[in-house]
Symmetry: C2
Subunit: 255 residues, 2 copies
């Protein structure tokens, strides 16, 4: 699932140095975008995180906003660069701007270890305000791309997160909370599923998002009453029980 970046130290060093040199001319100062990428597998809700250099710390995939780029386009571009996906369900949910979040020093120290203090340019010394988006993706289609700074891409259970830099743990909490209300209102869940699915799989998704159990028969009645599911022919699961129907979300009624 993770994906080791295998540039040599020379290339990494040069890459970081070049980024810090060129960034001020390309990107808006003091502004960043962070994305909480949700996926769903093994009946668990997962978040895609990046390991920061060779530390035990992880961060949200993020990036900066080009000077002539729309905010939403920046978020989309950052996601495409990281996941390789084209059509991504994306929702802005929060902008984080406490000054304390810039006090984090682990990232700076690690970067300085790699490139040497003399090469330090002040791009990362800025105080950043970060606009946060969450994305829902069918993770069977993702090919995460690591990048300079980040040595590993990894899915984490939303309940078993690693150590995170900055206020990224808070941001993930807010993203989940927002996903919960959106799932009710806008039926965005299908973005996390493959094209077709059984009622059981859908229920597992809802249980993972809301972190609670639902009574099977009532859940089924409820979702069918929404008239957003199209029932297909039966599934041949190979499991030792009655084969469940397959469903597909009907687009058009929502979004």
């Amino acid at each position: 699932m993770g994906n080791q970046h295998e540039g040599d130290v020379r290339g990494l060093k040069e890459g970081i140095r070049e980024f810090m040199e060129t960034a001020p001319a390309i990107y808006m100062p003091g502004l960043s975008v962070d994305t909480v990428i949700f996926g769903f597998h093994n009946d668990k809700l997962k978040v895609l995180l990046l390991r920061f250099a060779n530390t035990p710390y992880f961060v949200l995939p993020g990036g900066f906003i080009k000077k002539e780029e729309n905010l939403d386009d920046a978020a989309l571009r950052i996601l495409q660069e990281r996941t390789g996906l084209q059509d991504i369900y994306l929702e802005q949910f929060y902008t984080s701007g406490n000054t304390s979040r810039s006090k984090e020093t682990v990232a700076k120290e690690e970067l300085q270890k790699i490139i040497g203090k003399a090469q330090w340019s002040n791009w990362f010394d800025q105080r950043f305000v970060s606009v946060c988006y969450y994305a829902l993706i069918d993770d069977t289609k993702v090919k995460p791309e690591t990048e300079i700074f980040f040595t590993e891409f990894k899915w984490f259970d939303v309940n078993k997160l690693p150590k995170l830099l900055y206020d990224h743990d808070l941001i993930i909490k807010k993203a989940l909370s927002r996903l919960q209300s959106d799932l009710d209102k806008k039926l965005v869940g299908f973005n996390l599923m493959s094209e077709t699915f059984t009622m059981g799989q859908l229920q597992k998704l809802y249980e993972a998002v809301y972190q609670k159990k639902f009574v099977r028969t009532n859940f089924q009645r409820k979702l069918l009453s929404l008239n957003v599911l199209e029932r297909l022919e039966k599934q041949y699961t190979g499991k030792a029980h009655k084969a469940p129907f397959l469903y597909r979300f009907v687009t058009g009624s929502n979004e």
Copy 2:
């Protein structure tokens, strides 16, 4: 309700020039805060807007973020400067960052008319990303303060807005939409009312926010069932009918 600013042209000109000179040293570049201030009177939901210079255009009260200031604190400070209120219910709901919003030229042209092109500094030529908050206030307590640039402070019915600069009309729409979902979930409505109120007044508020009528008896049953209202003694309205009870929101159960 409005409040004419009566500085002479000389002072206005000097004020604007000075602001543009000093702003880059004080505030984060490319970032602003806009606030949608909701009030409730005459059974109507109102928004507080500022007339831009002597144009027919209005804008949302806004401002900039000091370099070492938390984002939420900036929003609070801007509101306090404008309304004179200390404890304000404030909710961040959206960050607006399309490049097209900076294409607005009315504001720039008007400012240049006042101070002369020679005096122009490039603070307002920047592309701004704006973090938007909405505020709920008991407007009987407000004393709006005008400021350089802005000649008049005025309440507008949320359904009868004047011409607005930038994308401020879109921002107000989003604010209302967010207020509607928050009112359901978090019972924030009391921030728009005076300390005590009748069930009829409360219903009018809900009707103004949701822009639809409710059946009186069912509305009453519903709100009483939430256990957030404390019933006081009767009200002596002087109206020619049975005197309604007065209620107060009980704090603690919400927020």
